[in-house]
Amino acid sequence: MKKLYTSFEEAVVEIKDGMTIMVGGFGLVGIPENLIKAVREKNVKDLTVISNNCGVDDWGLGLLLSNKQIKKMIASYVGENKEFERQVLSGELEVQLVPQGSLAEKIRAGGAGIPAFYTPAGVGTPIAEGRETRVFNGKEYLLEEAFKADVSLVRAWKADKLGNLVYRKTAQNFNPMMAAAGKVTIAEVEEIVEVGELDPDEIHTPSIYVQGLIVGKQEKRIERLTVQA
């Protein structure tokens, strides 16, 4: 059985100043809402955060940003956040932008024991300046190194007490790769069931990748509510 936390404060106990953490989600969908709030409460500083986006001004990773806990942000798109722009322009925050597919694969590779790989994305663009490329079959590719994290914070729909995870719809996004790429992975889930209740055919993240679990009540804020006219 995995560690079943009952307090979010305890669930983020492994996170220390200066660590690299991965945080699941795409926009505000599939983010571990309560774990992020607990990291803010803990007030750890100088974090390197790997996540596709950086939340919005008052939610998600925006909460860590406004509390000046992030030293470096690694993401593919960061446009939704005024405080982000302010900190970048003032030099308080370092940013590394990575093409979304390369970001996903760098994290996947980190969890899968692949130190680096070649991809066409970014060749001939500013992100490739000064970096290693190689030609395969007449086409140029850029070397991308894997990412790992000291701690990964992920969000799933259901878990069993062993830590097997099932995601829901597009809340899956970066969570499975991050679960595998964290030395310690803590999953915030909507529901924990008994071992044997999840169909083994439907498990997205096998329990081997997960060290701790906690049930969280999700607000699931909607970033862009778009309905039929």
Binding site: S76, A104, T125
Partner: protein, 219 residues
């Protein structure tokens, strides 16, 4: 750009989509193309965040906060849709399984270089999935206005803005024309009503090859 112009471009871009295609539509004007897809075509729209088979926007009762597109808008999924991780999503994209990507553009060069993600001196928001998409999709179509707000060409000999990808664009659809990127240069294949071949050449920096199709229409 006026709404009518955007609709005109989106409707023309829809013609690029064939029955049975797997298609990725970029954020912004490309997303509008979905509104004009013929009912006679069965296609799957892919969303980078992990959905193959995007459906219409939900009714208020159908809104699901766990179900969004790459533009973070609430959407629905059609029967036969699938959900997956971003790694799987970009394996699909990079692996050449997407038939067509329709993207917006700031500048396109005559060799097919595309710039659409950053303007020096302005806050850089990120490239999202664009740099992966331009290399993976079997065909890359850029839709944009023919000239910028100052009336200057956006189709150039060489892009002035930082690139999204080198030699990646196959076709450019604008409010004035449709132009293909070929091994010999840019080929004008359609002229929108109200414009002449000369108008298009005058608002395009590189020399255009004029397709026989266009010539026969004009004569």
């Amino acid at each position: 750009m006026s709404k009518n112009v955007r609709i005109q471009i989106a409707k023309r871009a829809e013609k690029e989509i064939q029955d049975g295609f797997y298609v990725n539509l970029g954020i912004g004007m490309p997303t509008m193309v979905a509104n004009y897809i013929s009912e006679n075509k069965n296609i799957f729209l892919q969303s980078e965040n992990g959905l193959l088979g995007i459906g219409p926007y939900p009714t208020e009762g159908e809104v699901d906060p766990d179900l969004i597109n790459a533009g973070k808008e609430t959407v629905t999924a059609i029967p036969g849709a699938s959900y997956f991780s971003n790694a799987e999503s970009f394996a699909m994209i990079r692996g050449g399984h997407i038939d067509l990507a329709i993207l917006g553009g700031m500048e396109v060069a005559e060799n097919g270089d595309l710039a659409n993600w950053m303007i020096p001196g302005k806050m850089i928001k990120g490239m999202g999935g664009a740099m992966d998409l331009v290399h993976g999709a079997k065909k890359v179509v850029v839709i944009m206005e023919h000239v910028n707000k100052a009336g200057q060409p956006k189709i150039l000999k060489k892009c002035s803005l930082p690139l999204t990808g080198q030699s990646v664009v196959n076709r450019i659809i604008t409010d004035r024309a449709v132009i293909d990127v070929t091994g010999n240069g840019l080929e004008l294949i359609e002229v929108v009503e109200g414009y002449t071949i000369e108008d298009i050449q005058n608002s395009t920096e590189p020399q255009l090859i004029i397709s026989d199709k266009v010539l026969s229409k004009q004569n």
